[in-house]
Every structure is written in structure tokens, then in C-alpha cells.
Amino acid sequence: MNETPLVAFAHLLTDANVRAVLLGSLLLGAGAGTIGTFALLRRQALLGDALAHATLPGVCLAFLATGSKHPLVLLTGASVTGWLGTRTVRAITQHTRIREDAALALVLSVFFGAGIVLLTRIQRTGAAAQAGLDKFLFGQAASLVQSDVWVLTGVTLALLAAVLVAFKEFQLLSFDEGFARALGWPVGVLEGLLATLITLTVTVGLQLVGVVLMAALLVTPGAAARFWTDRLPRMLLLAALFGAVSGVLGASVSLLAPRMPTGPWTVVAITTIFGISLLFAPRRGVVARAWRRRRLVARTTEENALASFWRFGEAEGDWRVPHPAGRLATTRGLSRLVAERTMRALRRQGWVEPEGDAWRLTPPGRTRAEQIVRLHRLWELYLAERLHLPADHVHEEAETMEHLLTPELAAQLEATLATPERDPHGRAIPAAEPGR
């Protein structure tokens, strides 16, 4: 056993059954990711969970009716009660005032309860044959054989074909069911088709990953893909890709370490992808959003500091006198630390220069600061003159707007106010072009 895992893996790949397991996991991951995305967008992320539990009575009934444990027989039974479960959820939310989440939990537990009742009935009738019925529901991909992969391939292809054909319909159904209805589309039929596709995916997936974890294969790829894009086609592709990758990863782990179960490792893989997306996706990720928020706060503080330094100069009639960061801290109510940090950041950008322990605006810094104060005072004047706000109420509003006004808006403000000279407090408004 001196093989590296990679070599061991390459050896495994020569086995047809191993290839079957890998292909099956890949297809299931891709199919579940795709169809699950629609469920996710329809706010039915947990439908797969309810449905997977609702297959248990079907499995038992199929066994009771036929006495056979052939996968196809059990799968058929599972699909029937699973599908009935989705219809029950739909009926409850449509005809009573119970909402989706409660309807799902009800169907999940009551159907599964019925399944357990049937299972114990089968047990008591003495047939030792029931062993394996519940195993059917816990899933183990290693037991996958060639014929199972054919079933999986068939289901996945059918599913992808249906999504391609009815893409426009499913898209509208996912985003605005009411609008689809208003257009006269057969919403009930479409919804039923979607539910049927989800049912098929769940029932074939059960053998691989089991009841509980089937839900993850449906929800998590779509939830991860959601962080990367706002466009449905891309989201579907990404979800399929994430699902496929984690399917293969999960299967590989259990092939290399046979004691390890496939489903849980697949779920850990897909959740890891989800976690990476959640944290590091460029626009919607937690880190990116926190960074943007920090940048915004920092920029606002920097602009405020520039405006303060300009006002110090205005008060003294001389902008060349340096002021300590402590004065900024007192004026703006900042901590000493933040004030010092802000000044250093402004220096890096070339707006201020140090002199001893104090700071002074550079010529470009003065121009920049003047523009900020100008926007502030223009906005104050606008509020006072046009919106008739009292002069002592306009400063706070202008504090916010001075960071948001664009040069175009400022020009319009100035035109509207007929090239004003003084703000409501009687102070001069700096000119658009510095050095008037």
C-alpha cells in the first residue's frame, strides 16, 4: 500500500463499476443542481426534503403489493407517493391559509409516519425480507451498478431536455407565477411538470445519498450559484457544475475509503463550495460586501476630513496653516486613532502633507476639499430655497449628500439656483473652478 491516492484512484478507474459510480454521481449532481435551482427560486428549497421523506410509504406499498425488492418496483412506488406529497403541499397552500413551510413540514412528517407504520406492518407479518427496504432510503453509491447508471442517465437527460424545451416557461414560473397566470399560461400544468421532474430526481437520487441528504443536492448548488450571478441561464449552469463536481468528489472519497459514505461526503463537498461562494463571491459575497461597506465608510470619513481642513482655513482666512489631527478628531467626534489613520490615508492620496505633528492641505487637496464644501453648501441652499427647510435643519442632510452628488447634478443645482454666492448660513459657496 505505497500507492499515492492519485495512483490508487487511477487503478480504481479501470474498474467498470467504479466508472459507473462516478458517472452516476456526476449525473445526479448535475441534474439535481439544475432542477433544484428552479425549486429554490420558487421559494420551495425544502420541497426536496419533504418529497424525499414522502417516498417511504411508496416504497413500502410497492413491496407489499408485489413482494419484490427490485429497484424499479420500489422506485415506481417511491415516485408515486413522492409526487402525491408535492400535490398535497400544493393543495394545502392553495386551499387553506397554511403557508409553504408548515405544509412542507406536515407532509414530510405525516407521510414518513405513514411509511413507518407500513414498515412495522411488514416487519410484523414476519417477512425477514423487509431488511433492505429502509437501507434503500439511506443510500450508498458504492452499491451502484451499471443498470442504475442507465436509469440515472435517462432521468438526467430527460430532465435537461425538459428544462431546455420549457426554459422560458419555467423561468417565468420561478420569478412571477401571477404574471404567468395573467398571460393565460397553463400554470397548473407547468407547476405539475416541475414537481414531477423534481420527484424523479429525488427518487433516483435516494439510492445514492439517502433521504435526508437528497435535500442538500437540490438546494445547495443553486444557493451557491446564486452568489455568482443574477442571470438564470448562468445560475443553472453553475449549479449543475457545482453539483457534478461535488458528486464526483463524494463518490471518489467513498471509493478510496470504502467505509466512508458517499452522500455525506458529497454534501460536505457541495457545502464547502457554498461556503466559498458565500464568503468570496465577488459582488454578493460576505467579504466583498463588508469590504465595500468599509471602503464607503473610509471614503466618507476622508472626505469629511478634507472638508473640515478647508473650513479651518476658511475660518482663519489662510489655508497654509497646519492643523493637528486632534483638532479634526474634536470637530468630527472621531477617536484620535481614526483621525490619525484618516490623515495618513489622505497623505497617501496626495491631498495633505505633514508639517511637524500637524497637517496641511496640498494645493490639489485644497481644490478637492473646496469641491466637497461647495456641494455641501449648494445642497443646503437648495433645501432652504426650493424646499423651504429652515436654515438650521439643512446641515445634516447636506452632510450625507456631499458624498453622493455627481458633478452633473452639482452643475444642474447651480443653474437652478442661478449661480448663488452664499449658503443659508451666509457663508461663501466656493466656485466650480478653483482660484476664482
Binding site: A45, R97, A102, A105, G113, A114, V212, M260
Partner: protein, 304 residues
């Protein structure tokens, strides 16, 4: 008391505890949280087992309770900070934790006697067999009765004490926040109560029955009344009736008691959905027909 009595009492107490927190979960649209918590506690139980290498219920319950809070907290964080939609946040969190639990158990399966089934399917039929023994060997009666009785009493007390705040937070969190009520505190308290109730109940009656008990009686009561002050006690009553009914059904069918209790809960819900005086599907249809019939002759012909 005989065996049947203990089982029905344990069921009723579990259903009562679940009905109280379930009512608030239902109103907050968090009904699936019970399902999530009852699965997500698996790694907690596995860890407790691996650390203490015993099946002593106390560390297991502590581990499970901790994981219950982690589930609720993580779900909440994903929803608020990660901006993941609520149901997806629940789905991602509990499947991940459950998967970790199964992996832990499989990794140590050779050394320990623990499997998913024994963890997840606490069996209510064993309630009368597991007695709480004092140090001198005297029996205080079934342990589950004490545990569930304690949880039930705790739920009754805290819900009564925090009633006004809970009610406002359930219906209008924004208003509650603007009135200065501790909305976040109430949410955390509800999550803690959900974890405690779920973990305690599934140890006594099994995971699936807990999900049914959390949502079924509350949903049934929700269809029967529009007042929260009636809904909560009604949910407790529905849960008790379902427990008795379920036991009798199990006795008649010679089948799983937990399964039959879940079935009974479904049955009561179906009855309420169809025949609730105000919100039932059949009653509403019937009322509409009567209205149409009455309007004949009263309304001008053009409107008929």
C-alpha cells in the same frame, strides 16, 4: 399507571411542549426549523458519545442542545448577513451538519456502538421501560415523563411571562422593534426553546414524530381560531388528542406508535382543513353556495 397510560402521557406532554413553541414557529414561518434541528443535532450527539465514550443521556443531550443552537444561529446568520433566502439557509445548514454527523459515526463505527437509527429514532414504545432510579434504587416512574413534563412546564412558564412580547414579535417584528421590545432576544429565546424542546422530545418519541408535533397541532389550531391566546392552548389540546388517538390506532393496527401518532396528527389537520367552522374548505364552499341560494330573489336579476 399502566404502560399504555405512560406512553400516552409522554406523547401528550411532548406534543404539548411542541405545540407551544410550534405555534410561534408557524407564525414566524419557521415550521421547518424543527425538522432541521432534529437532524442537525447528530454531530453533537456523536461528539458527546466519542468524548465520553458512554451512552449517558446527559452529555448527549448537552451536545444535541448545543448543536440545536448552532443550527438556529447559523441559519439566522446565513439569512441576515449572507442574504441567503430563509428556506435555503435552513436546508443548507441542517444537511451539512447531518452529513458531518454521519461521517463522524462512520469514521468511528468500528469502535462504537452507535448508528443513525438509534440516534434519530428514539422509540416512544420504550418510554415505560426506562425508569428514573434514585440512588437507593427506588423508581420515580418513567424518565421521559419527568423530562417532557419539565420541558412542558418550562415552556408554559416562559411563554406566559413573555406573552405580550412574543405575540407582537410573532405578528409584527418591525413594530415590536420600534416599541423598544427585545426582538432579537425574543428570537433567541424562541430558538433556544425550540432546540430544547426538539432535543428532549426526540429523545423520548423520535425525530419524525417531533416534526409532526411541532407543526401539526399548531397548524390545526391555526385553522380553528384567529386568536393567538386560543391557538396555543388549542394546539396543546390537539396534540394530546392526537397522542391518545395515535396510540389506539397503533394498538389496533399493531404498528409503530410514533408513526401512528404522526398519522393521527395528519388526520386531525385534514379534518380541520376541510371542516373548520371558519376556514375549512368544505365549510367555505357550503357557505358560498348558501349565500348564492339566499341571494336569489333578494338580489336584482342582473346580479344573480
Amino acid at each position: 399507571m399502566n404502560e399504555a397510560g405512560w406512553i400516552m402521557l409522554a406523547g401528550a406532554l411532548a406534543a404539548g411542549s411542541c405545540g407551544i413553541v410550534g405555534s410561534f414557529l408557524l407564525l414566524r414561518r419557521l415550521a421547518m426549523l424543527g425538522d432541521a434541528i432534529s437532524h442537525a443535532v447528530l454531530p453533537g450527539i456523536a461528539m458527546a458519545f466519542l468524548l465520553t465514550s458512554s451512552r449517558d443521556p446527559v452529555p448527549m443531550l448537552l451536545g444535541a442542545g448545543a448543536l440545536g443552537l448552532v443550527t438556529a444561529g447559523l441559519t439566522d446568520w446565513l439569512h441576515r448577513t449572507g442574504r441567503v433566502q430563509q428556506d435555503a439557509a435552513i436546508g443548507v445548514t441542517f444537511t451539512w451538519l447531518f452529513a458531518i454527523g454521519v461521517i463522524l459515526i462512520s469514521a468511528f463505527a468500528g469502535q462504537v456502538d452507535l448508528d443513525q437509527e438509534c440516534v434519530l429514532y428514539g422509540e416512544i414504545a420504550y418510554v415505560p421501560l426506562d425508569h428514573w432510579l434514585l440512588a437507593d434504587g427506588r423508581s420515580m416512574g418513567p424518565r421521559a415523563i419527568w423530562v417532557m413534563g419539565g420541558v412542558f412546564a418550562l415552556n408554559v412558564v416562559w411563554v406566559t411571562v413573555a406573552w405580550k412580547e412574543l405575540r407582537l414579535c410573532a405578528f409584527d417584528p418591525e413594530l415590536a422593534a420600534s416599541l423598544g421590545l427585545p426582538v432579537v432576544g425574543m428570537h433567541v429565546a424562541l430558538m433556544a426553546a425550540t432546540s430544547l424542546t426538539t432535543v428532549a422530545a426526540f429523545e423520548s418519541v423520535g425525530a419524525i414524530l417531533v416534526v409532526a408535533m411541532l407543526v401539526g397541532p399548531a397548524a390545526t389550531a391555526f385553522l380553528l381560531t384567529d386568536r393567538l391566546a386560543r391557538m396555543v392552548p388549542l394546539a396543546v389540546a390537539v396534540g394530546a388528542v392526537a397522542s391518545v388517538l395515535g396510540y389506539l390506532l397503533a394498538h389496533a393496527l399493531d404498528a409503530s406508535i410514533a408513526g401512528c401518532m404522526a398519522l393521527a396528527i395528519g388526520l386531525l389537520f385534514a379534518l380541520a382543513a376541510l371542516f373548520s367552522p371558519r376556514h375549512g374548505v368544505v365549510t367555505r364552499a357550503w357557505r358560498q353556495r348558501r349565500l348564492v341560494a339566499e341571494s336569489r330573489g333578494v338580489m336584482p336579476p342582473a346580479l344573480q
